[in-house]
């Protein structure tokens, strides 16, 4: 595809522009932005995309402001074998014309023209490629993707293979169907799809169903065989059972015979037992009889011995009774004497105690009287002390005040102004407001220590005013007097003498009190006066009582000492009588003990004699009774007879037992039992086998009704159908997988073949800019994945913006160069390379220039200097 000429009219800011492009080289369109150098690209886009009737915003955008003129574009271009001129006017007087010049001239207008142009372009042009090769201003510098551009594939394929048949839409369509077919059977990751797995599972189920029914039939067959086997076995068992029964019967008969013998032995054993028992009983009786006779004689002997013993004891007892009576009399006499001595001693002690009490009473009475007197003295002294308040200290202070007064008086007498009023007659005065009766000749003195007013009623008022010194002396005197008065008043006395007298009286009373207290303390000791009085009283009562009770016949000893002597004598007498009494009591006790012993011995003998008599009677009676039942002779005869009978029974038994042993009953028993068990076991086995046979027969009968053979046929049919379906699906799946993998591999290989020359072309152009060390790597979508420069490899995304931009342009140029022979599309740059430094810019110029002759490059720019380094280029300057 080549753009030869473009005319725009009334297109945005452009009134008219007519641009002719170099079809196989670089054309640079210069013009400021406002003029709309970008409108060149826009115009090509609009005329190819939008019909003249379009109301699209893209069209509206280019309608010139304020002009009643529709935007108009005329495009002359080559596409594949076609060369045509295509013109369009939108909005105002819309119009479309298409003039095809090659390969066959055609002239169309209106909608037909638009449709025909679309057909032509669809046939030859490659819209994705057309888009991919454009870099518009401000567009992100993304890499172009050539993967979806069949033109590139085709061109690359052609460049490599030289074949004139290339994979295209038809192949892509087939590929889509292959992928879809594969997806019917396989997941994206190459796993079996669920439907296939389900089919396989159904098949497995059907197979196991067949196996199950076959198994059941097998089981039935073996059951049927077992029944046949059981029949044979049962026949055999029944035959043998008869023989075993006969054996058992024979042994049973033998056994019966032996049983009879055994019974006989048992009878004889019982008989022997009876004879033995009778013999033993009689023997026992005999022994008993003999024992009884012997006991009787023993008791008779024992009784006669006891009676002799009793007669012998009488004289000794009589003697002992006499001795005992004597001893008791002696004891009574000694006891009487002891009692008298005891009484004597008690009386003598009472007399002595009376003497002691009398003495004590005297002493205590005296103490009590002393205490009473002292208490009285104490009371008086305390009463006196109550009224006497002047002690030595108080007296001293009064004395001191008295001395001070005297001193003051002396001073006053010497220095103070004094007034002496002497009565000439009896007069009543008023001195200092104080009425004074002044007798005649009496003098009333006053120290004038302040203004002294003496009023003679109805006569005169005399005021004496002291001088300063006089006033002070008077004050001192007055103060001393007041001081003394005050102290006396405090002490409760009216004068110093009274005070001295009081102090003396006080000292005396105090001394009296101390004396009384001392006396009380000494005589009371730890007692109170009340207790002391009480003691005296009680002692006196005791003495009185003593004297009243005393035996008046006895002479009271003269004094305490005499009383003590009497007591001593009485004590000695008592001790002697006590000794005598003790000796006689012991003698009496001995006598009575001896007597009691003799009495007890006799009583014991009497009891034994009585007992012996009773026993003897009983033995005699028993013996008589026994003999009554069976006399001694009879007993002897019967005993002999029973012994003979026993011996005979023993002989009979031995003979029968020997007979029994000869028949070997133990072995016979075992054999008989075994024969019986054998029969039983055979019967049991037969029963078991019969049961089993019946069980199997019933089972076979029941299952036979099911028609298992038919079920097996059905299951096999099902299995066979499923197996065929499974095989078919699996074959199809395998086929789909194989097609897919084969096509995928070839597709990838083809793509790899395109990649190499494309990469080489990019590297060739790129080395102009980046130097000889440049290598690049393309990904599956034919985009630059990595760039290696100077041994350093970087992912495309990490390259500088400038490098990315340069590589973007280079890859487009490379693409365009390769594709150009097959058609392709112009490479259009709208003010690209803004990011490149001057050195790179210059080299990029060389790269762009290298496109000259190979393909069409259109550069739109508003900064003409940027592309100065593009050597061979046609430059068009847009009109202002």
């Amino acid at each position: 595809m080549r753009v030869h000429r473009l005319i725009v009219r009334s297109f945005r800011g452009v009134t008219e522009a007519d641009l002719t492009f170099d079809p196989n080289g670089v054309t640079i369109v210069e013009g400021p932005n406002e003029v709309g150098k970008s409108s060149v690209a826009e115009a090509i886009h609009l005329i190819l995309e939008y019909p003249d009737s379009s109301r699209a915003q893209a069209v509206t955008d280019v309608v010139p402001v304020g002009l009643d003129q529709g935007p108009e574009v005329v495009l002359e271009m080559t596409a594949g074998p076609y060369r045509f001129t295509y013109s369009k006017r939108w909005r105002t007087r819309p119009e479309t014309t298409l003039a095809i010049h090659e390969p066959r001239p055609e002239q169309l207008a209106g909608r037909d023209a638009h449709d025909r142009a679309e057909t032509v372009l669809a046939e030859v042009a490659d819209a994705p490629l057309w888009k991919a090769l454009r870099i518009e201003q401000g567009e992100e510098l993304a890499q172009a993707s050539f993967d979806t551009a069949p033109s590139l594939s085709r061109a690359l394929d052609a460049a490599v293979g030289g074949d004139d048949e290339f994979a295209g839409d038809r192949e892509d369509d087939l590929w889509t169907r292959i992928v879809a077919e594969r997806e019917r059977y396989w997941t994206a990751t190459g796993k079996r799809r669920g439907e296939r797995a389900e089919l396989a599972a159904n098949l497995a189920t059907a197979e196991s169903e067949v196996a199950e029914i076959e198994g059941r039939l097998q089981e039935l067959a073996s059951d049927a065989e077992e029944v046949a086997r059981l029949d044979a076995e049962l026949n055999d068992l029944r035959d043998r059972l008869e023989g075993r029964r006969a054996d058992a019967r024979k042994l049973e008969a033998e056994w019966n015979e032996v049983s009879e013998r055994r019974q006989q032995v048992a009878i004889l054993e019982a008989e022997l037992q009876g004879a033995t028992s009778r013999h033993e009983k009689l023997a026992a009786e005999d022994t008993d009889r003999k024992a009884k006779v012997s006991r009787l004689s023993e008791h008779q002997k024992s009784l006669s011995e006891l009676e002799i013993q009793r007669a012998d004891s009488q004289p000794a007892r009589t003697r002992a009774e006499t001795l005992n009576a004597e001893a008791e009399a002696a004891l009574s006499e000694a006891e009487a004497r002891f009692e008298s001595a005891e009484s004597d001693r008690a009386e003598s002690i009472a007399d002595r105690d009376l003497h002691i009490d009398r003495l004590n009473l005297e002493l205590l009475t005296e103490r009590h009287e002393r205490v009473t007197q002292a208490q009285r003295d104490l009371g008086e002294a305390e009463e006196a002390l109550e009224g006497l308040e002047v002690d030595d200290v108080v007296l001293a202070s009064i004395e001191e005040a008295s001395v001070a007064l005297k001193t003051a008086e002396a001073v006053a007498a010497a220095g103070a102004t004094r007034v002496e009023v002497s009565g000439l007659a009896e007069v009543r005065l008023d001195i200092d407001g104080e009425p004074v009766e002044l007798r005649k000749g009496a003098t009333e003195q006053r120290v004038v220590d302040r203004n002294l007013e003496i009023v003679i009623p109805a006569v005169s008022r005399i005021t004496i005013r002291p001088g300063t010194e006089s006033r002070s002396i008077a004050d001192d005197l007055r103060l001393a007097r007041e001081h003394l008065d005050e102290r006396c008043a405090n002490a409760g006395v009216d004068s110093v003498d009274a005070a001295r007298q009081g102090a003396r009286a006080r000292r005396e009373a105090y001394a009296q009190k101390e004396t009384a207290l001392s006396t009380i303390k000494r005589d009371l000791r730890d007692l109170t006066p009340e207790v002391l009085a009480d003691k005296v009283e009680r002692l006196r009562e005791r003495v009185t009582e003593h004297e009243r009770q005393r035996n008046s016949l006895r002479a009271l000893p003269a004094d305490l000492q005499a009383a003590e002597v009497v007591v001593g004598k009485a004590e000695q007498c008592l001790t002697e009588s006590r000794t005598t009494q003790k000796e006689r009591r012991e003698a009496a006790q001995d006598a009575i003990r001896r007597l009691e012993n003799l009495r007890l011995g006799d009583a014991t003998l009497d009891a034994r004699i009585e007992q012996e008599k009773n026993t003897l009677n009983a033995v005699e009676e028993d013996l008589a009774q026994t003999r009554g039942a069976r006399s001694d002779d009879t007993l002897k005869r019967e005993l002999d007879e029973s012994e003979t009978a026993k011996t005979l029974a023993e002989e009979h038994l031995r003979s029968a037992a020997d007979d029994l042993a000869a028949a070997d009953p133990d072995s016979l028993e075992l054999r008989r039992k075994n024969a019986h068990d054998v029969v039983e076991r055979s019967e049991k086995t037969i029963a078991e086998r019969s049961d089993r046979r019946r069980e199997l027969t019933i089972k076979l009968e029941l299952v036979g009704e099911e028609g298992l053979g038919h079920s097996l046929d059905e299951a096999r049919t099902r299995q066979s159908h499923l197996a065929r379906e499974h095989e078919r699906v699996e074959a199809r799946a395998a086929a789909a997988a194989l097609i897919f993998s084969t096509f995928e591999r070839h597709r990838d290989e083809a793509r790899k073949r395109y990649v190499a020359p494309f990469r080489e072309r990019i590297e060739k152009l790129g080395r102009i800019v980046f130097g000889p060390g440049l290598e690049i790597e393309l990904d599956d979508d034919l985009r630059i994945a990595r760039r290696t420069l100077g041994g350093t490899t970087l992912p495309f995304d990490q390259l500088s913006v400038g490098a990315r931009e340069q590589l973007g342009i280079i890859s487009r140029l490379a693409c365009a160069q390769i594709v150009s022979s097959e058609g392709g599309a112009p490479v259009i740059f709208d003010d690209a390379l803004g990011w490149s430094d001057p050195t790179r810019l210059e080299r990029m110029g060389a790269v762009i220039a290298s496109a000259q002759g190979d393909c069409q490059v259109i550069i739109l720019t508003c900064t003409p200097g940027r592309y100065e380094s593009v050597g061979a280029a046609t430059v068009i300057t847009l009109p202002q």
């Binding site: 292959i178 067959a221 049927a224 036979g704 038919h710 097609i739 597709r747």
Partner: protein, 364 residues
């Protein structure tokens, strides 16, 4: 009798044909004035046959009027699970149906004695026929031995103890103790030995491809003088056919089509085709159409295209129909190469090409 390759339409007809055969036999016996019919074992396919088959078979035999003597064989031995002892059989057994359920001599109403050798298990340990015919007197009584199983001269397994010894049979026939030996087991009508008196009658209705001459009964006539006439009479209506075809071109597809078209009684014919050779995709598509058409017509049509040696390889014509270019063409070439080989890979590659042919939208 169920056959897995029969569809739900053919299977009931196939089963019903077995009952129809009984009626035909009864009619043939009546027409010929036969005294009785002997069935020499395998009356039923198995002892575990479904009830419906038993009652229908008994009903058909009862309707025939002629006495039927049934011998238990290896498929239906007289063991504990025997169909002949089942409640269904016993309850529905008509008076003219007699089971030869013990070995030895059986009197018939016609002065003829039957010497029966029934199977009581699936694996007898002796030649039952010889046992049954043992110590028969040669007293002029006409006797027909009724047996089942393989005969030693025809068997591939000489060690089988149950094999019927032809020498013994021929000796009995030679002595005039037995005048005819009716055998069952083989499905094809087969004379045994040189006496002309020992025969396998074969199955009255075909059951499998392997049978060479099924579908017959034998009408046997014995006269007092000891003469014998054996007449083969077809009663079966179904056929099993197996045919091999070799392929090398479009003409061979036509050959198959012609052969199938020429078959009579298609709805009672079961065909299995073994296909050998190679075909182009287009021809294979034609063949598939032919086979599909006849599958509808025939009772059953089995083909073995995958496991036979039928190689389907696209030729240049097939490929050009696909109009493929570039990598797609290369991929197809590779698949073609694989398909030309052998083994599993080649099979898959052939399938893949056929599939590709369809996916490519080529006419099929």
């Amino acid at each position: 009798m169920t056959r897995h390759f029969l569809d739900e339409d053919a299977q009931p007809r196939f089963s019903a044909a077995r009952i129809d055969a009984i009626r035909t036999i009864g009619q043939a016996a009546a027409d010929a004035g036969a005294g009785f019919v002997v069935v020499c074992g395998d009356v039923f396919e198995t002892n575990h046959i479904e009830r419906r088959v038993i009652v229908r078979a008994l009903e058909a035999m009862g309707a025939a009027g002629t006495t039927f003597y049934l011998l238990p064989g290896n498929h239906d031995p007289l063991d504990a699970s025997s169909v002949f002892r089942s409640a269904t059989f016993e309850q529905n057994q008509p008076g003219n149906v007699i089971v030869l359920d013990r070995p030895g001599v059986w009197e018939t109403d016609h002065g003829v004695e039957l010497v029966a050798a029934p199977w009581s298990s699936k694996r007898p340990l002796a030649d039952l026929v010889s046992q049954a015919a043992h110590e028969l007197p040669s007293d002029g009584t006409i006797r027909v031995a009724v047996g089942h199983g393989g005969v030693d001269v025809l068997s591939p397994d000489p060690d089988d103890p149950a094999l019927i010894r032809l020498a013994d049979l021929e000796a009995s026939v030679g002595d005039g103790r037995v005048h005819y030996v009716a055998l069952g087991d083989k499905h094809s009508t087969t004379p045994v030995g040189a006496t002309g008196r020992i025969w396998y009658s074969g199955a009255p209705e075909a059951t499998d491809y392997r049978e060479t001459d099924p579908g017959n009964v034998l009408l046997v006539g014995l006269d007092d003088a000891g003469g014998v006439q054996v007449e083969r009479r077809p009663v079966g209506t179904w056929r099993f056919l197996q045919e091999d075809f070799e392929f090398s071109g479009a003409a061979d597809v036509d050959r198959v089509s012609d052969w199938l078209t020429g078959l009579p009684d298609k709805d009672r014919t079961i065909v299995k085709l073994a296909l050998v050779g190679s075909l182009a995709l287009r021809e294979k598509a034609q063949l598939d159409a032919v086979l599909e058409h006849h599958t509808d017509l025939l009772a059953a049509l089995e083909t073995w295209e995958r496991r036979s040696e039928l190689v389907v390889v696209p030729d240049e014509g097939d490929l050009s129909e696909l109009h493929l270019a570039g990598y797609a063409r290369a991929a197809v070439e590779e698949l073609r190469g694989d398909a030309g080989g052998s083994g599993e890979t080649a099979l898959i590659a052939r399938d893949a090409l056929a599939l590709l042919y369809r996916l490519g939208g080529a006419p099929s």
